[in-house]
Amino acid sequence: MKAEAPLLLIVDDETRILSALRRALRREGYEILTAESADEALRLLSERPIDAILTDQKMPGMSGAQLLAEAARRRPSAVRMLITGWTEEIPRTRLEALGVCALITKPWDDARLKATLRRALRA
């Protein structure tokens, strides 16, 4: 972990999910940015030194997996995580190809979410 707070970008077209995730991770010591679309996320990705990106899969236009593929190109160092209601929707091989290091299911378990993020960002 870096000395300063890791910069976490959360992407979901559902603002309430963004709000709840921000709430859940309030005490986790991250600086949190949120984006409501893949486009906005890509803009933030190019403007800020993002350490980790956690994105929803099903979004209008670009999907979460597509966003992560783009993120891998633009900022390979950023930890890539996916959050989805249907984990079986994306083949495991595709996840591996995208370098996704954590798959979080919706609805998530708070403690497990925090542990998963900590583990992913430590690695």
């Binding site: 309430r16 709000s19 309030r26 708070d110």
Partner: protein, 546 residues
């Protein structure tokens, strides 16, 4: 004689069979050689044998010797009402004797005198001709009777309800299945007028129009009111029975079917198809429920944390209150408690916690409201209409679009252009099902075309009133339909979708539903560019049954 026979040659009977009853070897039989036609003459000596031959229809004529008279008399008595003609012959016959034989039923009496053979031949020929003509007539009569019995039997044994009516519209014949559908005994139906049983004008007019105009109806859907008041949906086909000459038919024959079971099946298919479309939606809907579930679940967890933190603060507030006891003021303890409290308030960030707690509650409430709506919409969708009710098609279309929206929003921009519409008497759930199918098809066409290209497709919903019709159109920018498929899209079980994706019943069901509303469903498509489905419903729709 020769002349005589030549004149009648055209009518000369063939295959003549004559039985001669005579006591001895010589007699009338010998004289029949002059008959001039090919005849089979059988000589019998016993009256019972003669009778047996006559009764078996084995002869056209019996020639009986007058003596012994007992035999001739018995023969005449037995054949008097039913049998071939009998000519009585005797060596000599006085008028008195001849009259006696005529009275006993003899067809003719011939004296076998000097010209006896010619006389007998002529008499025999005449009798044979006469007998053949009558028996031909009665054979025709018998044949007619046979045919009547046959056709009646066909009607009675048919497993389809059949009614035959006479030109006045009264029942001339009907069969047990008809009696069963009509709920009345067969005998009670004969002679009754048909029109009275139909509660609707369409049914009442059917038979009358067939009789008056000679038109025919096929598969007309109507209903029949039974004497016990119950109403049976029936399909009627009715055709005129041709009259010999042009003009009014000689009656009409109607076949009809009890549609109760078919209606039930139709409802089942409708329900099955609806369930199938709901199945297609399930993933999308689950996703839509899962999102609010996700944040409500997380928020509850967090709210619990907030409450725990606020409880910690409250414990300190209570501490402080104790120090404020005016009886035992403890300024030092008071200051300490106040400092601790201030530190804790800072640590917990109470003002943020309070405002975020309120926000979390608000957001969760909104989420649960969303779930409630989705469940409500789905529940509405699984109902089925009992009867026509006035409905606003804009609302029907919009609530259906709301249900399917979650499954398509990641791929689709939805444009709505709703104009003001008059309330339409309809089966709203069925129409919603049509809209649902059209929307799902539109979405799937876009999904197939765009896949995960990241592009967005467009679905446009337009409602408008044009003249006496309400038009609802659903256009998409999907794959379009190949021209060779366009003819078949309404066929049941026709599908180009992958196994498990489409039932092949979607558009067939839509077509039926729209037809039930006396409307039309038109599909225009440009392969590669998209499809427009247009539901045209007359505002003054028919009164058909659901």
């Amino acid at each position: 004689m020769g002349v005589c026979l030549q004149q009648r040659s055209e009518q000369r009977p063939s295959g003549v069979r004559i039985v001669v009853l005579q006591p001895g070897r010589a007699g009338a039989a010998a004289q029949l050689g002059r008959l001039g036609v090919e005849a089979e003459v059988e000589v019998v000596h016993d009256v019972e044998r003669a009778l047996a031959r006559a009764r078996a229809g084995a002869c056209d004529l019996v020639v009986a010797a007058a003596k012994p008279s007992a035999a001739a008399e018995r023969l005449l008595e037995q054949l008097r009402h039913d049998g071939p003609p009998v000519i009585v012959v005797d060596r000599a016959l006085g008028n008195e004797a001849a009259l006696g034989w005529f009275r006993r039923g003899a067809a003719d009496c011939v004296a076998l005198g000097s010209r006896g053979s010619e006389t007998l031949a002529a008499a025999a020929l005449e009798q044979i001709r006469g007998w053949r003509a009558t028996s031909r007539r009665s054979a025709t009569g018998r044949r007619i009777q046979e045919l009547q019995r046959y056709s009646e039997d066909v009607i009675q044994k048919m497993n389809t309800a059949v009614l035959v009516v006479d030109p006045s519209g009264c029942i001339a014949s009907c069969n047990p299945p008809a009696a069963q559908i009509l709920g009345q005994p067969l005998q009670a139906l004969l002679g009754r007028r048909v029109a009275g049983w139909f509660p609707d004008a369409a049914g009442r007019g059917t038979v009358d129009r067939v009789l008056a105009e000679g038109v025919r109806f096929k598969g007309l859907e109507s209903a029949i009111t039974r004497p016990d008041g119950s109403v049976v949906p029936v399909g009627i086909s009715c055709a005129p029975i041709a009259s010999g000459q042009a003009g009014r038919p000689r009656g009409a024959v109607a076949t009809f079917q009890d549609l109760t079971e078919m209606r039930q099946l139709q409802r089942q298919v409708l329900q099955t198809e609806k369930m199938a479309s709901i199945g297609q939606l399930a993933a999308g809907v689950a996703h839509e429920i899962n999102n609010p579930m996700g944040f409500i679940h997380a928020n509850l967890f967090q709210m619990n944390e907030y409450v725990a933190e606020l409880r910690r603060v409250w414990t300190h507030v209570e501490q402080l209150q104790k120090c404020l006891d005016p009886a035992r003021p403890e300024p030092a303890a008071l200051r300490q408690a106040a400092e601790q409290l201030a530190a804790l308030v800072d640590e917990v960030d109470v003002s943020f916690v309070l405002s975020d707690l309120a926000k979390a509650i608000r957001e969760s409430q909104e989420g649960s409201e969303r779930i409630r709506h989705i469940v409500q919409d789905l529940r509405d969708f699984s109902h089925h209409d009992k009867e026509r009710v006035p409905a606003d098609l804009n609302l029907c279309l919009d609530s259906t679009a709301n249900i399917v929206w979650p499954m398509m929003k990641h791929l689709v921009v939805l444009e709505k252009e709703y104009r003001e519409l008059p309330a339409l008497d309809c089966f709203p759930m069925q129409l919603k099902q049509v809209f649902m199918n059209l929307l799902v098809n539109a979405f799937q066409a876009i999904e197939e075309k765009l896949g995960s290209s990241g592009e967005l497709g467009r679905i446009r919903l337009v409602t408008e009133r044009v003249g006496d019709d309400v038009i609802v159109s659903v256009s998409d920018t999907g794959t379009g339909i190949a021209p060779e498929h366009l003819d078949r899209i309404f066929d049941p079980f026709f599908t180009t979708k992958k196994v498990g994706v489409g039932t092949g019943l979607g558009l067939a069901t839509c077509f039926n539903i729209v037809q039930r509303h006396d409307g039309t469903l038109r599909v225009e498509s440009v392969p590669g560019e998209g499809t427009t489905c247009r539901v045209v419903l007359p505002i003054d729709g028919g009164g058909g049954e659901g």
